[in-house]
Symmetry: C2
Subunit: 318 residues, 2 copies
């Protein structure tokens, strides 16, 4: 059976899976990224874990290659550069070093771009030539497809849409120091910051008056909205409004057929999606109205990132 | 000699030129667009003027086709749709109707996108695969090239960047009703609006205190800056700062190698370009710093739009 190794490198976990040509992850495992602060140790662990995973399968496998999704990865250079939530600093020549240990076809890409490829090959964006995948986790990530091809940019760093300024330099700071940057508002973290903002702005009572920022989780906010907590409802409305403005702006850029949404914030379901749909249709230019879909990811949540990474290799075999 | 007919449809003039494969306009003419409110009359005039132009040349010409740049044109549909400064209303099936009168290969495109193609074939962006052409006239237009191809979008209306909101819905209105839309600030018209804003905000004396908005021209503002007029200097700084923020945002989208700037506002030279360069480098994300060029158009001003339009056909012959 033809198989691609899909690897999702996150700040906490490194997930590894074996992905068939239908985009199904037939076997998977993980180890803790932070236990290997030395890159060489990490790559040895990655090789060992991958090989163990392959030998754990009874069927004989024909490994076509290895696709890797990682934060701040440049597909053009094969590097990971200055990733704030990984321990390896500076510009890491990931592909070059890993290829020395595991010689096989190998590609690396920004995780949100890998997610976009996954949606195009296996998920919600099959047969689409123009769409944008949006990941709403700790930050805001984007993978942009136009003319049927992923947009890498001049140097492999296209799609850093979490750091576009929405406020003419007069808003919240992002982790990269952008004033008014989108992900300071629209992400799981941005929603938590907005819970604070609403408590500061209004006097209305709320369950959040007795929960500190560090103890606050996304699920709590969804639960509070279900119970009618006004601060939670206002926070979802505020987040959705800014996200809608951002998606309307992005539409004017590449005019996608759809936005495919995934990640923690989308788990809040109708509390984010209903105001988002409403504001989005309000803000869209007339020429785009009724032509842009807001969709959920078509990948299974737990293996979506692995399958997205594997799509980097499957793309060349279809 | 192989020749392409390039046509630039503007609200005031329709310009027609004969463009050779080096992108040189060997002969050109124009007529007044507004004299032909009926589309059929207009197309008859366009055909007659084109044929006269061709027969005015002594050399025998082999006409390869006709490329057309127009506001609000959809390359995918061959239409002009709801163009606010043209007299034909609704969705105009321009290519279908014109092709009936002049059967030859024919393409139409948004004027800023045509300008981008022109820069790629004949101008400043030769050999670039990722760049954005920006037209700064009455409005703000953009033609986006990524992976070596122009981005049309799902429906042919990509690149409407004059109508992205920069202010979370809390700023000047554009002609399409977008609050805080970019072209309300960054365009020849935007600069004039900023001259008013600065006079409203500050009490400093200025030559503009005795000039009404309708009597104000871009050249006056450049001249005033040269004479040290504080309102003019503040207006250029303000315009450049917002434009720099917008270009930094756009960089995070497709990571272009360069922005190629053209149109009326660029005639203000250093008064706009010096603060623009400074703010742009300040606002760019670290990962992009030093990698994105701000360039002037490589096309001759008077025939740039004609040659851009001709590039739509030349693109398929190179």
């Amino acid at each position: 059976m033809d198989i691609v190794i899909g690897i999702d490198i996150g700040g906490t976990k490194t997930k590894i899976g074996l992905v068939n040509k239908e985009g199904e992850c037939i076997e998977k495992t993980f180890f803790r990224t932070k236990e290997f602060p030395d890159l060489d140790d990490y790559l040895n662990e990655l090789k060992k874990t991958s090989e163990n995973l392959i030998s754990s399968v009874d069927t004989p496998l024909n490994i076509l290659g290895c696709g890797i999704g990682a934060p701040n990865a440049s597909s053009k250079n094969g590097t990971i550069e200055n990733a704030s939530n990984l321990l390896w600093k500076g510009s890491v020549p990931f592909i070059e070093k890993f290829h020395e240990k595991m010689p096989m076809p190998m590609r690396i890409m920004n995780d949100a771009s890998a997610a976009a490829l996954g949606e195009m090959l296996f998920g919600s964006a099959k047969d689409m030539t123009d769409f944008i995948a949006i990941t709403l986790g700790t930050g805001f990530g984007a993978g942009i497809v136009a003319n049927g091809k992923l947009i890498d940019g001049f140097d492999g760093f296209a799609g850093e849409l979490g750091h576009v300024d929405m406020t003419m330099g007069d808003g919240r700071l992002t982790g990269l120091g952008v004033k008014g940057g989108l992900e300071a508002y629209v992400s799981a973290t941005g929603l938590k910051r907005t819970i604070l903002h609403m408590q500061a702005k209004y006097l209305v009572d709320s369950r959040f008056r007795s929960i500190a920022y560090n103890d606050l989780h996304g699920e709590d906010i969804t639960k509070a909205a279900e119970e009618g907590d006004e601060i939670a409802l206002m926070a979802f409305d505020y987040t959705a409004k800014i996200m809608a403005q951002a998606l309307a702006n992005f539409t004017a850029f590449t005019q996608p057929e759809a936005f495919v949404l995934m990640g923690g914030l989308t788990n809040s379901g109708k509390w984010i999606m209903e105001p988002l749909e409403r504001y989005f249709n309000e803000f869209l230019l007339e020429v785009y109205k009724g032509k842009v879909k807001l969709m959920h990811s078509g990948m299974q949540g737990k293996t979506a990132a692995i399958c997205g990474a594997a799509a980097l290799i499957w793309e060349n075999h279809s």
